[in-house]
């Protein structure tokens, strides 16, 4: 999985591309979130638009990312969920935990 980091005003946007799966993708996500938080980010938007596959480890990392950012007083939100990622989060009822947006502008305006 590839992670690209952008900044829009005070929101740090992580663009994820590929598979958030055990062994590589999940670790890349964890590292990217920790790096953002350690750099002082408190508003984190994860763009999942280019994610092709996510497994339980990837879901676990999303949950951990949410907890990490929230525990530091920040907010983590998700945008552009492909249907299969939305399905995976729906099955484990996490879709109700995350704030999810269909487009980036709405997501940015919500922080």
């Amino acid at each position: 999985m590839k992670v690209e980091v952008r900044q829009s005003s005070d929101v740090t946007i992580l663009d994820l591309k590929g598979k958030i799966t055990i062994g590589t993708g999940d670790i890349a996500l964890r590292d990217a979130v920790m790096e953002a938080v350690d750099s002082g980010a408190t508003k984190v938007l994860i763009n999942l638009g280019q994610v092709t596959t996510i497994d339980s480890s990837g879901v676990g990392e999303l949950v951990s990312a949410y907890t990490t950012v929230t525990n530091r007083g920040g907010k983590l939100k998700l945008v552009n969920l492909p249907s299969k990622v939305a399905d995976i989060l729906q099955i484990t009822q996490l879709i109700t935990v995350f704030e999810v947006f269909d487009n980036e502008n709405d997501a940015l305006a919500s922080f």
Binding site: G23, D55, I91, L94
Partner: protein, 151 residues
């Protein structure tokens, strides 16, 4: 010469991988080829692949405990209209421990414990047994679409 379409049956593929997570990609490539050939629609094929990814990850992590010298064997077959995928590790045996219902509100934010739920959701049947002479065998089954599993 075949005058009628025949049902696919029997062993379709067998693969042994070292206990590295990156080898799951190889499993997925082989499995995707087989599943596509059986006539599953693309969404169902995707979910089967996710279930098998979970099973193989379990075998690597909990079965073989990341020992790269130990193999995970994956056998794919069709029998009586069911796609059957057996995932066998060489570990000391592990229980598919339910780490608590991942849908329970108290467990919702735990970082792990969802793999079994996904496997059961995406497949028709998920069983496990102790392997001989060692390890654990996880068996995943999915009904092949009627009339699709033909050659």
């Amino acid at each position: 010469m075949h005058t009628a379409r025949e049902q696919v049956t029997g062993l379709l593929g067998r693969l042994a991988i070292g206990s590295r997570f990156e080898n799951i990609e190889l499993v997925q490539i082989v499995l995707a080829e087989i599943v596509e050939g059986l006539g599953f629609d693309s969404d169902t094929a995707h979910w089967i692949e996710v279930a098998v990814r979970e099973a193989v990850a379990n075998a690597i992590k909990h079965g073989n405990r990341l020992d790269v010298e130990k193999k995970v064997e994956i056998a794919v077959s069709v029998d009586q209209g069911n796609l059957t995928i057996e995932v066998r590790d060489q570990g000391q045996g592990f229980e598919l421990v339910e780490l608590g219902d991942p849908l329970d509100p108290t467990n919702l934010m735990k970082p792990s414990g969802r793999g079994i739920l996904y496997m059961r959701r995406f497949m028709d049947q998920v069983d496990y047994r102790r392997g001989e002479p060692q390890g654990t065998v996880l068996t995943l089954r999915k009904r092949v679409p009627p009339g699709a599993a033909t050659i």
